[in-house]
Amino acid sequence: MQHIMQQKCAVFRTHDLISKGIEEYLKVESSMDDIDIKDKSLIFNTDLVEALELHNLMAQSKVTLHSALNRTESRGAHAREDYKERDDNNWLVHSLAWLNDKGDVSMGSRGVHMNTLTNHVQPIPPKRRVY
């Protein structure tokens, strides 16, 4: 999982690369059923903790892969080599992802709050990063 995320879902990514990452991810996901914890202790069981961490990271990786594939623009640390420009018209939104019990991911989005909570400070409109 670590290798897939570092190689197929790093900062610079493309549709093909992420798709390949998802393909490989599914293989790893199916092997999760065979997980075995050798340390049966109830005190400071780092083996168990690491297994729980892996379980969590598996879900995080899956939604990360799908969100990266879904967002067809480049923004910050999401640099799509096949969509090099930032696209504020379509993608000035938060990506939302749902992972259900069967392991299916569905994508959605939510608008970005463009205003400050008080009138104390005026909001700064988004603009291109040119540095």
């Binding site: 914890i37 050798k38 340390d39 202790s41 109830l42 005190i43 400071f44 069981n45 780092t46 083996d47």
Partner: protein
């Protein structure tokens, strides 16, 4: 004649040996202290063998390799793997240090690894540090600034510090609280319940020396105690063991000097 019995679990027995399955160009042996609180057996020393060509250079890399590939029940604390978190403090080759900063090549022959000495062991290489943390809390390791100046009270500006005043914290702020020094101190071994130990006293010195802190005198008064501070007899084990190259003994001497000259 008086007869003494050793405390429970102080006798260490021989444990399992895990040998390399394939011949290796650069093998390394590790002898690691193991103790499981859930069985009533004595601690044991397990022997492991790894191939250094297929492993990172540090002792922590070897421990992780063992945990990942040979024996997942091996228990130790680790986090940052680069000497900034202070989690992987243990006794390696007879010296307390951070496993992530200790290179395997520094140790000739077999690498012997034990938990930090004279602490209650939770399991394997994990010591119970709760007393040390309690002692750290007792010196109030946070900025205290009492002021009668109304302007400053109402102001939300940052409290500035000159580069020269900031320099006074050098050699103190770098401490990562791994307690390698505290657990290497014979004085702490004897009086650990009262004596604060070098790590905590170094933190005390760090706050005493902070130009933004207003409670310098109070802090000095609080540690001016024959047990809390003066159990330091300049043994210097702390300075010798510090994996970050700090000098707690010197900072403790600074505290003693400040007490003499300022209180």
């Amino acid at each position: 004649m008086a007869q003494f019995t050793l405390p429970a679990n102080s006798k260490i027995t021989k444990g399992k040996t895990h040998q390399l399955k394939e011949p290796a160009n650069d093998p390394k042996k590790l002898a690691i202290y193991r103790w499981d609180p859930e069985d009533d057996k004595n601690p044991r020393i397990d022997n492991y063998e790894i191939d250094q060509e297929k492993c990172g250079p540090m002792v922590l890399d070897a421990l992780m390799k063992i945990k990942n590939e040979i024996d997942p029940t091996l228990t130790f604390r680790r986090s940052c793997r680069e000497g900034v978190c202070g989690s992987c403090a243990m006794n390696i080759d007879g010296v307390n240090t951070l496993a992530c900063l200790k290179s395997m090549s520094e140790v000739k022959n077999e690498i012997k690894i034990y938990p930090l000495p004279h602490m209650r062991v939770v399991k394997d290489l994990v010591p119970d540090l709760s007393k040390a943390y309690e002692q750290l809390a007792s010196i109030k390791p946070w900025l205290q600034r009492k002021t009668t100046n109304e302007e400053e009270k109402n102001s939300r500006d940052e409290k500035k510090q000159s580069p020269k005043d900031r320099e006074k914290l050098d050699g103190k702020w770098e401490c990562v609280l791994c307690f390698c020094c505290t657990t290497s101190c014979p004085s702490y071994w004897w009086n650990g319940d009262e004596y604060l130990g070098p790590a905590v006293l170094l933190q005390a010195a760090r706050w005493v020396s902070d130009s933004r802190d207003s409670e310098r005198k109070e802090r000095l008064k609080a540690i001016n105690d024959s047990l809390k501070l003066y159990r330091c007899h300049s043994i210097m084990n702390c300075t010798r063991s510090c994996p970050k190259g700090l000098n707690p003994a010197k900072e403790i001497a600074g505290l003693k000097k400040a007490i003499v000259t300022e209180l």
